[in-house]
């Protein structure tokens, strides 16, 4: 089988870390090659090198057997390499068409919009996507944005495709459709590098798999000759337990009561439309649903970040409707925001600054005027150890941490109880999105620990597997309404899916 890409002895150093340490990697024609590894293992770095975004410190790159020097993405593109980045790289205010033809040398000067529109529609149809090229990006769902990213590279006729965690933003159905498209592209003779943290996906879609760990390649194997357990073992260097680990905590009094809540979304129409909920001490209430159905607005309203339009929120029986976030923090509400690396930290700040983003105002860390850096650094060191944050030091810039470690940092800040003690209520919005299995397990264990200590927990996720694993009750949300609440014993993927789709039928 022809080798499309071969990387030999790639080394890339960043200040304080060796992100890639003598990495060898190869991609064959017609295969889907999964790249697996913990957060910070160096997957994105390696792919950025293959795409010409980073220059390697050492090593050689071969494309179709020829040694190449990649100075910029332009060089990579001209060799038929395309990359879909971990975070979308789309111009939100431009149309789909404008994004797709961006940088394309074909039109000399004037853009022939009609020609491109037709060709994009044809290409999209080939992979079973329906997309209007004249729509603006910000109007699209995450799944559609993903399709635009793919169209961008397919439109250039790329045959080496790099997909960096493409499924972390997709729903189950969207993921399935993506996989069908990927298999089809492989049949057409393209080579696809597919980065993910989900072992199920590796088993389902890939032909071969390469595992990275701490900047090095551990092994490359045919997918059918390996198992999930074996891959997990390679990835984190220890076996991992799949499935049940229930903690039985006694359910206590009602911590949170939400009554007929209505909340406005960003675009000015109600995102939450009459939701009522109840969470008890020691209870995990899972919220299942396709993202973008009001989950974030609900979470933000409870955390005091968004003023409800109508309805009431009671915390331990006290009406806290409309209180601001500062008050809610003091009352013991911890909020873990979605997309932590965007909304949860200040990237330019140091690790210690981000750890104390909330607590800096309170003694002993401040006396209303001066900050006590000694105390803060001491506590930061403790938290770094307790929550396993991998960072050169407490004084490193937060933006250079990998996604998993940023999430750990946020959890440390929110859950450590520096302010207000052990949280009474934890609102966790997609806390494991983009995390590797080790880190995911860590988050799960952490939530269960707080459940045991008596916190009430709202756990928002799109991943049914983890919802079923952790929740005591699962509420299914869709179109800003709760479509049903299932006790854990009666809940299964099918029932939940049915509740979601029923709502769709009603709405449609």
């Amino acid at each position: 089988m022809e080798k499309l890409v071969e990387l030999r002895g790639i080394v890339k150093r960043f200040p304080g870390v060796v992100a890639n340490d003598r990495v060898d990697f190869e991609l064959r024609r017609g295969e889907v090659h999964a790249l697996l590894g913990e957060n910070g293992a160096g997957k994105t770095t390696l792919m950025n090198i293959l795409y010409g975004l980073y220059k390697p410190d050492e090593g050689e790159i071969y494309v179709r057997g020829r040694r190449v020097e990649l100075k910029s993405p332009r060089d990579a593109i001209s060799l038929g390499i395309g990359m879909v980045h971990q975070n979308f790289r789309l111009v939100e205010s431009h149309t789909v068409l404008e994004n797709i033809i961006l940088g394309l040398g074909e039109d000399k000067l004037r853009i022939d919009f009609e020609k491109h529109r037709r060709r994009i529609m044809e290409l999209a149809e080939r992979y079973g996507w329906r997309i209007d090229p004249m729509v603006r990006i910000w109007q699209l769902s995450a799944g559609e944005k993903q399709q635009v990213e793919l169209l961008k590279i397919l439109y250039r006729g790329a045959e080496i495709l790099i997909l960096d965690e493409p499924t972390s933003v997709l729903t189950v159905q969207e993921t399935r459709r993506l996989f069908e498209a990927l298999r089809r592209m492989a049949r057409e003779g393209k080579g696809i590098i597919f980065i993910t943290h989900k072992l199920n996906e590796v088993m389902e879609v890939s032909d071969r798999v390469t595992v990275m760990r701490k900047g090095r390649v551990v092994i490359t194997k045919e997918t059918r000759e390996t198992t999930k357990a074996e891959l997990a073992n390679y990835m984190i260097g220890r076996p991992i337990v799949f499935g049940q680990k229930k903690v039985s905590a006694k359910l206590g009094s009602i911590v949170l009561k939400v009554i007929d809540l209505k909340v406005l979304g960003d675009r000015g129409y109600p995102a939450i439309n009459g939701v009522s909920l109840e969470v008890r001490r020691g209870e995990i209430l899972g919220i299942a649903g396709v993202s973008g159905n009001g989950q974030v607005e609900l979470a933000e309203a409870i955390a005091g970040l968004r003023r409800p339009l109508a309805g009431r929120i009671l915390l331990n029986g006290v009406d806290v409707t409309g209180m601001d976030a500062g008050k809610m923090i003091e009352l013991g509400v911890a909020y873990i925001p979605p997309e932590g690396n965007k909304l949860g930290i200040v990237p330019g700040f140091r690790v210690v600054d981000n750890l104390f983003l909330k607590a800096y105002r309170y003694p002993p860390y401040s006396n209303n005027l001066l900050l006590n850096w000694g105390k803060m650094l001491e506590k930061a060191q403790e938290l770094i150890e307790e929550f396993g944050i991998v960072t050169p030091s407490a004084l490193s810039r937060t933006s250079s941490l990998s996604g998993g470690n940023i999430q750990r940092l946020i959890l440390a800040r929110e859950l450590s109880g520096i302010v207000g003690g052990i949280p009474r209520l934890i609102v966790a919005a997609y806390p494991t999105k983009g995390l590797d299995i080790g880190a995911t397990e860590f988050v799960h264990d952490l939530l269960l620990r707080y459940k045991e200590m008596g916190s009430g927990i709202i756990f928002i996720s799109e991943d049914l597997e983890e919802l079923l694993l952790l929740s005591d009750k699962i509420a299914v949300i869709s179109g800003g309404r709760i479509r049903g609440v299932l006790a854990r014993e009666e809940a299964d993927a099918e029932k939940i899916g049915l509740l979601m789709s029923e709502a769709v039928i009603q709405a449609g």
Partner: protein
């Protein structure tokens, strides 16, 4: 009455052209993500150089030199703000200070005399000391210039006609061509543009140079086409008004035409009122109008949905770097 309207309209166009030329270039810079606050300084340099070079070599050379000087000055900004990623506000304001100081120095009587003699030793003594230069001649377009009222659009100097052509042309390039798409993308999301193989730094550098070239031209026009008497700090804040016009036009060259004539009109009416003795209390109020309009525009574009519809350059003022 018709005569009065014609004279006001004619003047409005003449004043408005200063703003139009300057803001056209600035729109390109800002669409690419670079805020060129050096506009005022580049314009005043353009004015000073066009003064000196008109005396020495005539109009054409003077205009060319002003444009080239504008490009070179903005290149300083591009190197500092784009490549070295320094703060654009600080570097831009520094450039304005530099332009104001340097133009005053170069055009001061003693220095000017030395320069003029060096440029053209055969210049008669009488030209060495004067504070003015010949104005650009008006060109009357046959037929069109004879029309009532709108005829005054066609009794203007060459740089006004340049602005008539430049505005729609620059709109077309920005919104309908490949280079224009690259430029807008770089200002919206440089990481996305970079990933598609566009050289973000080069595009930003070029756009900044375009803004410099137009600012130089605006300066030359201000002096040669409108007010050919040299005085220090001749631009008197017109560069900053052009900056606010860019916002008012929501970064669109066609809307900039309307805005430029609007600002021009306000200024002309203000002069007229003063002539009638009515302006005594209002000149400051009227002078405030452009800024008020810009603030209103800023408030409007701060609304998320408006922003997305008209496409405020999302990365305006933010330096780009790949490995961060």
């Amino acid at each position: 009455m018709i005569e009065w309207i014609e004279s006001v309209l004619g003047l409005t166009i003449q004043v408005g052209t200063v703003y139009l030329l300057a803001s056209l270039g600035e729109i390109y810079a800002e669409r690419s993500g670079v805020l060129n606050l050096g506009l005022e300084g580049i314009m005043v340099m353009g004015a000073a150089l066009s003064f000196i070079f008109t005396l020495a070599y005539g109009h054409l050379a003077a205009i060319l030199i002003s444009v080239i000087a504008g490009i070179l000055m903005s290149l300083i900004l591009a190197v500092m703000a784009v490549y070295m990623r320094l703060n654009q506000t600080v570097t831009g304001l520094a450039l304005t200070m530099l332009g104001l100081g340097l133009s005053g120095f170069l055009a001061s009587p003693e220095v000017r005399k030395v320069i003029l003699l060096a440029l053209n030793p055969s210049l008669p003594e009488s030209l060495l000391a004067i504070q003015e230069a010949p104005k650009l001649p008006e060109i009357h377009v046959p037929l069109l210039s004879g029309l009532p009222i709108i005829g005054c659009f066609f009794r203007q100097n060459v740089l006004v006609y340049v602005s008539y052509i430049a505005a729609p042309l620059m709109w077309f390039i920005l919104f309908k061509t490949r280079p224009g798409l690259s430029l807008r993308s770089v200002g919206e999301n440089p990481a996305a543009a970079d990933a598609m193989g566009i050289d973000v730094f080069r595009v930003r550098c070029l756009a900044t140079m375009i803004s410099g070239g137009f600012a130089g031209l605006a300066g030359a026009y201000l002096f040669l086409g409108f007010q050919p008497f040299w005085q220090e700090g001749l631009t008197a804040g017109k560069g900053f008004i052009a900056l606010s016009l860019v916002i008012l036009s929501t970064w669109n060259p066609l809307r900039a035409i309307l805005g430029a004539y609007l600002f021009g009109g306000v200024e002309v009416i203000q002069y007229r009122l003063q002539l009638f003795g009515l302006g005594a209390l209002s000149p400051y109020l009227l002078a405030m109008l452009p800024y008020l309009a810009a603030i209103a525009a800023l408030v409007a574009v701060s609304i998320e949905s408006v922003r997305k519809r008209i496409g405020v350059p999302a990365s305006l003022g933010i330096p780009y770097s790949r490995e961060e």
